[in-house]
């Protein structure tokens, strides 16, 4: 976890996933001459947005699932309620 703590999120994995689904490359500064730091910034921006979007999605999902599992009297987050809420939450985040 220490290694994970160092990083906020698995950028490469996220990027590969999105890239595979979008069949497009995520934006990075095409101008290689810009320099590495700037390139990183520009590159990270899209990923970071995606990550933030994912965090928002997860927050909504967990909140909905928690409400649903509370309705059933569970004190923990129930997988049943998560599965139940997933569809609506995904639809909410549909582009």
């Amino acid at each position: 976890m220490a290694v994970v703590g160092k990083k906020a999120y698995p950028k490469a994995t996220l990027k590969k996933i999105v890239k595979a689904h979008a069949n497009l490359n995520l934006k990075r500064n095409a101008d290689v001459t810009v320099g590495r730091s700037l390139f990183l910034l520009a590159h990270v921006l899209t990923e970071c947005q995606i990550y933030l979007n994912y965090v928002l999605f997860m927050e909504t999902l967990v909140k909905e699932a928690a409400i649903d599992s509370k309705l059933y009297g569970d004190k923990k987050l129930a997988s049943r309620s998560v599965k139940k809420v997933t569809r609506d939450t995904l639809a909410k985040f549909k582009g």
Binding site: K15, K16, V18, N25, K27, I50
Partner: protein, 456 residues
């Protein structure tokens, strides 16, 4: 029964104090039931009057009734058994009761011989002349049943000897009668009436059993001795093990109590292997689960370590040789495990079976990404790694803290569901971003696409 009780009270009141002193101890021993219980009931009723509420009184009455019922078992047993079983007996008893007022000769208890013989014999002779032997039995029964209270004075008197003689007499008469009822009569009557008779019968029965066993019983006793020894040995051997063994020993005892020597040996042998058989399935489970966990954790570590390296030059890396990457990754502090795994496409690391299986595919794939886990193929034909559950867990737990659930822990099922949901989310998100980007006639996804997606 009612008539004799009616007779009892006067008889008790009547006898002189001198005789009373002699009789009382016998009365206590013999007929404890009714009078004592009645006395208790009467004595304890007054406190019930003091009861604060009528309900309390009723409750105390019920309690007293129960006590009286408990302390007067003999009466009820007799009644119940008479009602249930003895039909002919009842008939005769009713007859006797009906005749009882007429047979007031009983009052002359001092002269018992004449009283016992005359009334009952006359009454029964009226009814059936054929049943003379039964009548004789009946005389005894009536004498015992009806005259219980009256018996006490008799016992003190030499009349007891007469009763004993009568008891001794019936068996030959029974032998004379071969009808079923005549044979069953005394058996039924015996438990009810006198324990002396019971003891007599019990002694006979015990004698019979005692005669039988010496042939077989000697062996049986020896066997039991052997059982005990074996059990003790087992106990001595096993107590060191566990409680389970003790329980087994108990079961063994029970089995051996009714069983044979051979069972002794076999159940012990069976139980032990059974316990051993029970344990192995438990053991392999952790073995099975452990590698999974190890794989998962290893995969997570790999993901964690590998994440930074592809980020910067990942697209360039596709065409470039891999040797450049590990250098950069080492600079960023990636664990060494990632380097071989990254090379997996070409070098084929020997970490896990899954990697070996997926490695050639990855080598064929464009990204040449290490297959840390199962790689999945999107509908565009591109392979992509599955989402690391640790990442999902981290995000979900962060979200859970604000959800307000009392238990912020995530079960494996829930984590699986969340991972699956996030997988779908990223698939949807990728599709949407690709759609936005292609709509803008771009080949790359830009921030504007993401912003548009988030604004929607």
């Amino acid at each position: 029964m009612s008539t004799p009780s009616a007779h009892r009270t006067p008889s008790r009141s009547e006898p002189p104090p001198s005789a009373h002193s002699v009789h009382t101890p016998l009365d206590r021993t013999g007929a404890q039931g009714a009078p004592n219980s009645v006395r208790r009931g009467t004595s304890q009723q007054p406190p019930s009057r003091n009861a604060p509420t009528p309900h309390g009184r009723a409750a105390r009455r019920q309690l007293m009734d129960r006590r009286t019922a408990i302390f007067t078992p003999g009466k009820k047993r007799r009644k119940s058994q008479n009602d249930q079983r003895e039909d002919a007996m009842d008939i005769l008893r009713h007859l006797g009761k009906a005749l009882a007022p007429n047979s007031q000769v009983i009052h002359s208890s001092s002269s018992m011989d004449s009283s016992d013989g005359s009334p009952e014999s006359t009454g029964k002779k009226r009814k059936s002349s054929k049943k003379k032997p039964r009548l004789s039995v009946w005389e005894e029964d009536d004498g015992l049943d009806d005259n219980f209270p009256l018996d006490r004075p008799r016992f003190s008197l030499p009349i007891d000897q007469d009763e004993d003689e009568e008891e001794d007499l019936p068996p030959p008469r029974l032998s004379e009668n071969y009808t079923v009822q005549s044979v069953e009569m005394p058996r039924r009557a015996d438990p009810d009436r006198d324990q002396a008779r019971l003891s007599m019968l019990g002694g006979r029965m015990s004698d019979v059993f005692g005669t039988l066993p010496p042939e077989e019983g000697g062996e049986g006793q020896r066997e039991s001795d052997f059982f005990d020894e074996g059990l003790y040995e087992n106990l001595m051997n096993r107590p060191a093990d566990d409680e389970y063994n003790r329980i087994d020993d108990d079961t063994l005892r029970r089995e051996t109590m009714g069983g044979d020597d051979f069972q002794m040996g076999t159940p012990g042998g069976i139980d032990e292997p059974s316990t051993f058989a029970m344990s192995p399935p438990i053991i392999p489970d952790p073995e099975l689960t452990a590698p999974i966990l190890e794989e998962a954790t290893g995969g997570l570590e790999l993901d964690a370590g590998s994440d930074p390296e592809p980020a910067p030059f990942e697209d360039f890396d596709d065409g470039q040789p891999f040797e450049d990457i590990p250098g950069g990754s080492d600079e960023e502090g990636i664990p060494m495990d990632d380097a071989p795994s990254d090379r997996g496409g070409s070098v084929e690391p020997t970490n896990d079976l899954t990697e070996n299986i997926t490695a050639p595919q990855v080598g064929q794939g464009r990204d040449a990404m290490p297959a840390r886990k199962k790689t999945r193929i999107s509908r565009h034909g591109l392979e992509y790694p599955s989402l690391p559950p640790a990442f999902v867990k981290k995000v979900a737990q962060r979200a859970l803290q604000s959800s307000g659930l009392s238990n912020p822990r995530l079960s494996t099922d829930t984590l699986d569901a969340l991972t699956q949901a996030s997988e779908w989310f990223f698939e949807q998100l990728g599709d949407d971003l690709g759609a936005y980007a292609s709509h803008a006639k771009r080949k790359t996804v830009e921030e504007s696409d993401v912003v548009t997606l988030m604004r929607r």
